[in-house]
């Protein structure tokens, strides 16, 4: 990898160009940034920052929870999960008590988008 790409400001500029170029096509620039973030550790942080910087919905964040919290039925994807009152830093670990029928995610929004 070229040394210039070890400079975080340059990588951040590249990421912001990717966002600006495909601003009206979120899936495209999200996919490109996700691929860019996976190339190496040096690029991962600024690319993930750019990827997550603007979110139209909470759905992408909710999809970061444990995969077994998602279920499907009647053409919809349901999030069935368990919560306890604040115990750890990660919501995926907050599993206990009664299940809560918590939300609906539309089927066309894949978890990778």
């Amino acid at each position: 990898m070229h040394k210039a790409l070890l400079i975080s400001e340059i990588v951040a500029d590249v990421c912001s160009e990717l966002v600006n170029e495909h601003f009206w096509d979120h899936c495209q620039y999200h996919g490109t940034l996700a691929a860019f973030a996976a190339t190496c550790r040096a690029i991962s942080e600024p690319a993930l920052d750019a990827l997550w910087c603007t979110q139209l919905s909470l759905a992408p964040l909710l999809r970061c929870m444990a995969p077994d919290l998602l279920g499907e039925g009647d053409g919809e994807t349901y999030l069935v999960h368990h919560f306890c009152v604040g115990s750890t830093l990660d919501f995926t670990h907050l599993l206990f008590a009664s299940s809560i029928y918590a939300g609906q995610l539309s089927p066309q929004t894949g978890r990778d988008c």
Binding site: W24, H26, C27, L48, D49, L51, W52, C53, T54, Q55, L56, S57, L58, A59, P60, L61, L62, C64, M65, L79, H81, F83, C84, V85, G86, S87, T88, L89, D90, F91, T92, L94, I100, Y101, A102, G103, Q104, L105, S106, Q108, T109, C113
Partner: protein, 449 residues
């Protein structure tokens, strides 16, 4: 999850083209669960969030009332910009809104979307106005409901307020002067963009008269009641007196009615001239149910006073009441402005005062492709097209005599309006042909050389 949440800086920004296709609905249960499970109860879910478009985030949900209570999940010390809906707000939501300035004093930009009609808004006006009076650091405030006098004066006192989109109260009430005394001069000292709605145009003129918006770059005024010409003149004079002549570059003033209320009392050149003081004027858009009597002299002055003019639209929806004194030749200085790309005015083209046997104008505006000429009269479409193909060779569409009120205001018949409209359509078609012929001739001449 929290490691990703900390990267989010903008949440819920509403982009219409994307929103409906990709955004799933999140139920109130999800918000409730997130609220219960926060590791640190007072900590925001997204600690680095600076822009929260709550109305965009909840767009389409039928549980908005219940979810609104979870706004605090996202608000924290880093949030600067907040946008939310007020439509159909219940007592609980209004209480939460009223507590926002106390709990989140760091908010600098607040946009409130309100789609209710004026009667429904009355209930919320007091609450929002009270909330405004508690904020002290706002740089942007937007709300279509009517602010109280006290809230308006409080806004005027902000030293960092740059953008304001508000509806202002009537300033003729008796206690207005008492509120004025609380204003620490100069009012609106940092205001750059003002979008104001009011019932009477004089309310806005009076407000500007007691403040000093010297940084004002863009001024937009919507007047609910049709104004008189004298009141419009007063507004133009006040702008000329109170605003910086080099800073104000965009002005839009309009009323939504089309039927002229005072056909024998037009806006004349003297009333228009205060606006010529603004030397960097770029966009002028004026639309009132009033006749306009402007002539070639004003266009000549515009061409010297507004060298950076990009767009000029004067009363092209309701027309000028048949009182335009601008001729074809009068357009020449205006069209010499290098940045002019939009033009909507009324001309009297019944007399062609610049014919083909005269020396070339030397003026050719290639940026304008569309003209709106409202109630412009025309007799000979061929000679008019010959002139316009020289000075406006790229015009391909001319709109005129629309809507029907333009004919009514000009005291013309509907048949006359259709006749003139057809002639202008012919002119638009001829300009394209004539311009091509001119270009062909130029090429031939260059070859001969």
């Amino acid at each position: 999850m929290l490691s990703y949440a900390s990267r989010i800086k903008v949440l819920g920004r509403h982009i219409y083209e994307i929103k409906y296709e990709f955004t799933p609905q999140i139920s109130a249960e999800v918000f409730r669960a997130l609220s219960w499970s926060r590791p640190v109860p007072a900590a925001p879910l997204c600690p680095n969030l600076h822009t929260l478009d709550w109305s965009g985030l909840l767009d389409g949900t039928d549980e908005e009332e219940e979810i609104f209570g979870y706004l605090h999940l996202f608000l924290g010390p880093s949030v600067r910009h907040l946008e939310f809906n007020l439509y159909n707000a219940d007592f609980t939501r209004m209480s939460i809104i009223l507590s926002l300035p106390r709990n989140y004093p760091g908010l600098t930009s607040v946009e409130i979307n309100d789609y209710s009609d004026n009667d429904d808004k009355q209930d919320g006006c007091g609450t929002i106005s009270d909330a405004v009076c508690q904020w002290n650091q706002l740089e942007l405030f937007s709300w279509s409901g009517c602010l109280s006098h006290r809230a308006l004066i409080h806004l005027a006192g902000f030293t960092k307020l740059q953008t304001m989109m508000v509806s202002i109260p009537d300033v003729s009430i008796i206690n207005w002067q008492a509120h004025l005394s609380t204003l620490q001069a100069p009012g609106f000292c940092a205001l750059r963009k003002a979008v104001i709605t009011c019932d009477q145009i004089l309310s806005c003129a009076s407000l500007i008269d007691i403040t000093s918006p010297r940084q004002l770059d863009s001024f937009t005024l919507t007047v609910r009641n049709p104004p008189e010409a004298a009141a419009v003149w007063r507004l133009f004079q006040t702008l000329g007196t109170r605003c910086s002549h080099t800073t104000l570059t965009k002005i839009t003033v309009h009323n939504s009615r089309y039927i002229h209320t005072q056909p024998f009392n037009p806006i004349n050149e003297e009333m228009f001239r205060p606006l010529l003081a603004f030397s960097n004027m770029a966009v002028v858009n004026i639309s009132f149910p009033l006749a306009f009597r402007l002539g070639n002299g004003v266009l000549r002055d515009i061409s010297t006073s507004w060298p950076r003019l990009r767009a000029l639209h004067i009363n092209t929806m309701s027309g000028w009441g048949g009182q335009s004194q601008i001729t074809l030749a009068g357009l020449i200085p205006l069209l010499s402005l290098p940045q002019l790309e939009e033009l909507s005015i009324v001309i009297n083209a019944s007399v062609v005062d610049h014919t083909l046997d005269m020396p070339p104008t030397g003026v050719s505006n290639t940026k304008i492709r569309y003209l709106n000429l409202a109630d412009s009269v025309i007799e000979n479409e061929h000679s008019v097209a010959a002139f316009l193909s020289d000075v406006l060779p790229n015009v391909r569409q001319i709109r005129s005599w629309y809507p029907g009120e333009a004919a009514q205001n000009a005291s013309g018949s509907f048949a006359d309006a259709k006749k003139y409209e057809a002639r202008w359509n012919t002119v638009a078609a001829l300009i394209a042909t004539f311009a091509e012929v001119r270009e062909q001739e130029r090429k031939a001449a260059r070859k001969c050389e």
